[in-house]
């Protein structure tokens, strides 16, 4: 069923009784060509591309809870591709370009709002690092622009330009094509698209183990029974370590709680996404009017999906320091996801150390913006058995060869 | 021969009589790493002062003369603030440390006002040691907090 203004009109006149399920609830089969474990944005996108790009007919996505219930439903919805290294820039920009066409392709309004992502510079040194980054991005074909203090002030006058500001603003750089998108809609759009192409989306299906033939993984053990597969993949942000352990290998990942929060809804007051490395904060205003923001991690490894009060306070302080007018506002909701952080702040995409299994993990705090490309690359791996040019640099082997894609260093973060 | 004059902490931070804290100048402050049997988070009286436990095998000696062991003279490096009034409230505003942690003969290293400090009570008054470069910041924090009373 095609979505459109006409459809709303037509169905509205029929009492809205004619709408179809956004995705089917299929009967679980006992075997598939491909199984994607993890029904978040990346997993659903992978299944969609397996069906659409690679023509696989029997694909299943197994989700422990409800689709999009993990980090996909918990992030702060920022999309951007302003990364330092060519490998990252290429990958994230591929995602951004897919995002730009996604509503059309999936016939679902993901509410992509390319309102610009502005990173602030607070010292001369920051400006120098930003110049380096901006030039790297321009040379890699990413649209960014270096701004001086006055240009930043014109862009976002509410920022803290007072003489008593702890972190004076020297300038910044902006990616105009960056912005936000509605996170739940991205998951639901891919789910609907995949389901329409015959992908079986199985919710409330907990994977409890891997099935093997010799050393090769040939399926999964689940709460709904055994399912065999030609090829398997895991895309389970927050639980990658757990799933890897089930398969007998370890990942160079540490999982932390990352909090995010929203304010009460307000009339439009912030039209740009703003990020600052000085306080580590990022903030935007949703289309519903809520300020959506976050900052640093709760600094102890945890699967709890809940942060604690001291970090919550620090996050609020981090945001308010850049926007002192917002001190009067109230926090409406706070939650946390589990972020899988790799040492070099880049993801792991590629074959697992075990045959028959592919990995898409380690996205840390930045997985949402890469949802389309994570899915695209995982699908490519599962269907062809080979790396795509974009995923090769992110192979697990880089931790042995030393060829890290160190985006933290790229951002000037000493770590 | 000209001799250099000493700038006191009080002069450095512009202490005034209306401040909610004092800035006494201990005769000696020494970081000491040596085996000792000081119980964790406690203070021990010695002849010319007292010792504060910092870590296993480490203490801060607030004494006129340095004790034995690996000793570093930090007399000029550690700023001491002694809170005159509203100590309980200021402690509650600046730190999550329970008041019970600073009972008789107890000390604690903890975050106070967001910076690393050593806290203890002596003669009923709250003592705060902080790195001297952070003294102006702590002065500002205490002055600000005091306006809430």
């Amino acid at each position: 069923m095609r979505y459109s203004g006409w459809q709303l009109l037509k169905q509205g006149l029929r009492g809205n009784a004619g709408w179809q399920p956004a995705w089917r609830t299929p009967v679980l089969q006992r075997s598939y060509d491909a199984i994607v474990v993890g029904g978040g944005g990346h997993g659903l996108a992978a299944a969609y591309y397996l069906a659409r790009v690679h023509g696989l007919k029997r694909v299943a996505v197994l989700e422990r809870g409800w689709i999009g219930g993990g980090n996909t439903g918990r992030n702060t919805t920022i999309v951007r591709s302003n990364y330092f290294f060519a490998e990252s820039a290429a990958m994230y920009d591929f995602a951004l370009r897919l995002y730009e066409g996604l509503s059309r392709e999936l016939n679902y309004n993901i509410m992509l709002s390319q309102r610009g992502v502005l990173n602030l510079a607070h010292t001369e040194h920051d400006m120098e690092l930003m110049t380096r980054s901006v030039n790297a991005m321009l040379l890699n074909g990413i649209d960014v622009e270096l701004l001086d203090a006055k240009q930043v002030r014109d862009e976002v006058p509410l920022l803290n330009f007072s003489p008593s500001a702890r972190f004076p603003i020297h300038g910044g750089f902006v990616q105009r094509r960056g912005g936000v998108a509605r996170h739940d809609a991205v998951a639901w759009a891919y789910a609907r698209g995949a389901s329409d192409l015959g992908v079986d989306i199985i919710q409330n299906c907990d994977v409890t183990g891997w099935l093997r033939e010799g050393s090769r993984i040939v399926g999964v053990e689940t709460s709904l029974g055994r399912i065999s597969a030609g090829v398997c993949a895991m895309s389970v942000a927050g639980h990658s370590g757990v799933m890897a352990e089930m398969a007998g290998f370890r990942l160079p990942i540490t999982s932390y709680a990352l909090q995010a929060m929203v304010s009460e809804p307000l009339k439009p007051i912030l039209d740009t996404v703003v990020m600052s490395t000085a306080t580590g904060m990022y903030v935007s205003q949703s289309d519903k009017g809520e300020l959506v923001f976050g900052a640093g991690l709760d600094l102890y490894p945890s699967y709890a999906q809940r942060g604690n009060l001291p970090t919550g306070q620090a996050i609020v302080a981090a945001m308010l320091e850049l926007f002192p007018a917002f001190r009067r506002l109230k926090m409406l909701r706070q939650w946390a996801g589990i972020v899988d952080v790799c040492w070099d702040y880049s993801p792991v995409i590629g074959p697992a150390p075990v045959e028959g299994l592919y990995l898409n993990c380690g996205w840390g705090t930045g997985g949402f913006k890469a949802t389309p490309v994570g899915g695209w690359l995982l699908a490519h791996l599962m269907a062809t058995g080979q790396h795509h040019a974009l995923s090769a640099p992110f192979d697990l082997g880089r931790f042995t060869s030393g060829m890290l894609v160190d985006e933290a260093a790229g951002a000037g973060i000493a770590h | 021969m000209v001799e250099l004059v000493l700038t006191s902490l009080a002069d450095q931070i512009g202490w005034t009589d209306s401040d909610v804290f004092e800035c006494p100048a201990p005769t000696g402050l020494f970081l000491v790493s040596a085996p000792n049997d000081i119980a964790p988070n406690s203070m021990v009286e010695v002849d010319d002062g007292y010792l504060c436990w910092l870590a296993p095998g480490r203490c801060l000696a607030v004494t006129a003369t340095p004790p034995a062991g690996f000793v570093s003279d930090v007399t000029q490096g550690s700023a001491l603030f002694v809170v005159r009034v509203h100590a309980a409230e200021l402690l509650a505003m600046g730190s999550a440390l329970p008041a019970s942690a600073l009972g008789e003969g107890r000390c604690a290293q903890t975050l106070f006002a967001g910076v690393k400090t050593l806290l203890y009570r002596r003669a009923g008054l709250l003592h705060i040691h902080v790195d001297r470069p952070l003294a102006p910041y702590l002065r500002d924090w205490l002055r600000q907090a005091a306006t809430s009373f």
Binding site: L8, S164, M319, L329, S401 | F149
Partner: protein, 971 residues
Amino acid sequence: MTGTRLGSGGRIDRGQVIPFRWGDTVLQGFAGDTLASALLANGVRVVGRSFKYHRPRGIFAAGVEEPNAIVDVRIGDRHDANARASLVTLQHGIVARPIAGWPSVTRDAFAALDLLQRFLPAGFYYKTFMRPSWSRYEANIRRMAGLGRASHQPDMRQFETRNIQIDVLVVGAGPAGLAAARAAAASGRSVMLVDENPDFGGSLLWQDGTIDDRPAADWAAATTAELAAQGVTLLPATTAFGYYDHNTLGLMERRATAAPGWALDRLWCVTAGKVVLATGSLERPLVFPHNDRPGVMSAAAVLRYLRQYAVLVGRSVVITTNNDSAYATAAALRLAGAEVAVADVRTAPGQAAKDATALGVSVIPGSVVTDTGGRLGVRWADIGPADATSKKAATRRVSCSIVACSGGWTPVVHLFSQSGGKLRWDAAASAFLPGIGRQDHQLSGGMNGVTSLAECLASGHRAGIAASGATMLAAPRAEPAAVETPLQPFWFVRIPGARQWLDLQNDVTVKDVGLAARENFQSVEHLKRYTTLGMATDQGKTSNVNGIAVMAELTGRGIAETGTTTFRPPYAPVSLGGLAGSRHGLLYSPRRELPAHGEHLALGADMREYGGWMRPACYPRLDETTAAAIRREASAVRADAGLFDGSSLGKIEVCGPDAAAFLNLMYYNNVENLKPGRLRYVLLLREAGTVYDDGVIARLAADRYLLSPSSSHTAGVLAMLEQWRQTEYPAMHVAFHDVTAAWATFVVCGPRVRDIMASLAAEIDLSDAALPHMALADGHVLGVPARIARVSFTGERSYEVSVPAGYGPALWRHLLAQGPTPYGIESLSVLRAEKGYILIGTDTDGLTMPADLDMSGPLRAKKVDFVGRRSLTTPDGVRADRRQFVGLLPQDPNFVPPVGTHAVDASRKSLGWITTSAYSPTVGRSIALAMISGGRARIGDVVELFDRGRVSQAKVCAPVFHDPAGEKLHG
């Protein structure tokens, strides 16, 4: 008609009249009113508009669960753009206005949207607005969304935070909470009692009852006074908003007054030995067609407005209910002179109905309100059979201005759930009740499913004892509850057609839940996110359970199977400023000051923050630009002498029999063969083989070293040393003392430096034989202990003089008096760039390895393992095209390319970038340092430079531009 104030009764003070503004009108209320009760008393019906359909909205409830009365409130210079009127204490100077509706809340142009409602079901925006793209529609949608208009002015108030540890924290001061606090206080433990209302007592303030032979409200007041006398910390008007790990809770207090400049919101971070949750329960609406009109209210709220505020919300009231509690409202309204009819879903409503009938209330069993009418507020209600399934069912129309509804009670289990507790659906109670808890808490009263006053008191008493220890105190007594007729679950009217609201603020109806079910958004979380049920500022307090029940029914599942969403902090919206507390402005994070800070200010230094320290960038004279100052200072150092404050450089003393062996394990260079009295330049690597820090190590004795990490890395280096010693080499005897703050260090350098050093009357042999370059010695200068090191970061003959920090200002003044030119960090940066000395974090990034810096020598000479060694030989470590540290001479000697300019190859691929760039007064032209792929092999080549589209050329050279042989070190 609409609301009026009764002449007597209520807990308001009619002697204190409080005028206030509502929009353009001035109204009156009394001390003790909330803004909501005052508005109702003045007959105000419409206070807002719903989010999607812009239908008029009136006050529904009396507390934190109020979904509609979100208004803009100003008092003096305080402003709340989204205030909940039922929580705003009426006070002098309040200026309140509706935030919805244009041109006014009663005449809203966007009300026309309601005519299009069938085309705007839940999630409609996902199905359209795609062509040409969302951006075409977004601006208008955003303008229609959002509630209040936030102020753009920075908020300059201070916010206070209090941390407190308490033996027993009791959350909620209704009957259960008061009983619990009373029992706990008797044990002698420290107790804190908190309640979101300004007065303690909870429902005791507006419900009938007798406790210990006294009116319940009197008992509440007396108990509160006793608690105060016993030293219990009482926090009224305080919301416990979050229950975190380790029995830590966040409370936000809304004080009545505060010191000037301080906000009324105050955050309490409470760590409790035990927590008693006595948070009560909230009435949930009964759902029926057109149940969203102004005048539809919670039955319990109607009673509360009557009893607590003496407000009769209407003179003709229809009550629609499925349980007994609404009859208390019926009776009270009747006694106040209203006409009351009760539509009870139950066919045999029992004793409560009989008692009401005796008072003149008309009770219709087996019935429910099947429709309401009235454009800006209820004017009539249809009452029909509760089991009606078609519009043709027989109904009777009753004129009324109020429809008070009661669908049952929802225990307030939010904090329990936040603490990690699991909820279970209890069919008998028709409620989600606490199941297995995770933390050390006791549950009591309404939140634990207890319904009668007597049982609340008893359960609170037991909880208080369980939390604190036995007491001889007897539990407070109340009459046992009258036998109640059980509640009959009734989730919505089965007549198709008219909309029935679940979420009043976000306009989510039963039909929307049906749509969500039909489209397969069946899990509770999908339901919530797709329909936005429960996501408004009331956080679903009156809509969540009804929504879940409707979804359960429409999908053929039980409520237990459908489940509930996880509760997250905050329980109610809390002040952002309050959460941030004092962490703002210059107190956001500390800056360190140098011992001679005042001296630099006196010289007019341009002070900037570097790595957490305030340091002089340069010392511009009057009318001198920064660039000119830097050139002057750099030239003076080379020609004459300079003076620099290096006090922020790290100083870590390392001592112990294993000091040498341990440091050798840590550092890239060999430090074991460093002789006492000598210095060595060293690198500290990460395990990845990349350079973390550089610095100078001094050997003081066989078992003693002094490390000089860079100022921004001192804490990190210390942490690294401690971590390796404690976790990997615990058997090694070595300790580290950070003495950075204990010393003031000044650098004097330049051709004339020996004269200046002579003025120090140092009792230290400063001859080149005794103190060659890269050596140090202890002694006294000008009567105070000192350490002098010969080490240079400028390339000139250079001495670092360190004295105890308190002597710093005096030493600075003395040295300055000898005539050297004070120079700052920016000037130093030019001088060291001329010599090609690296700056960590500027010329290096997190990827640079020692070989990139052409510092492979120490590796070849070092035989033992050290942190990072293994990584130096990975495939990435030995790549031929690694970026290497080189110099660049721009073709135009007057052009200073910005730091961050890239070098590019013929196909515009980046080869690397400029890390340092300056005009060198010493060589009279621009110079730069860069990291370029395969740089050393390119020396002599010309490369193209790219900076944001601007292209230029530069020649690659060795990274040194002045005195390559280092002769001036000994000059």
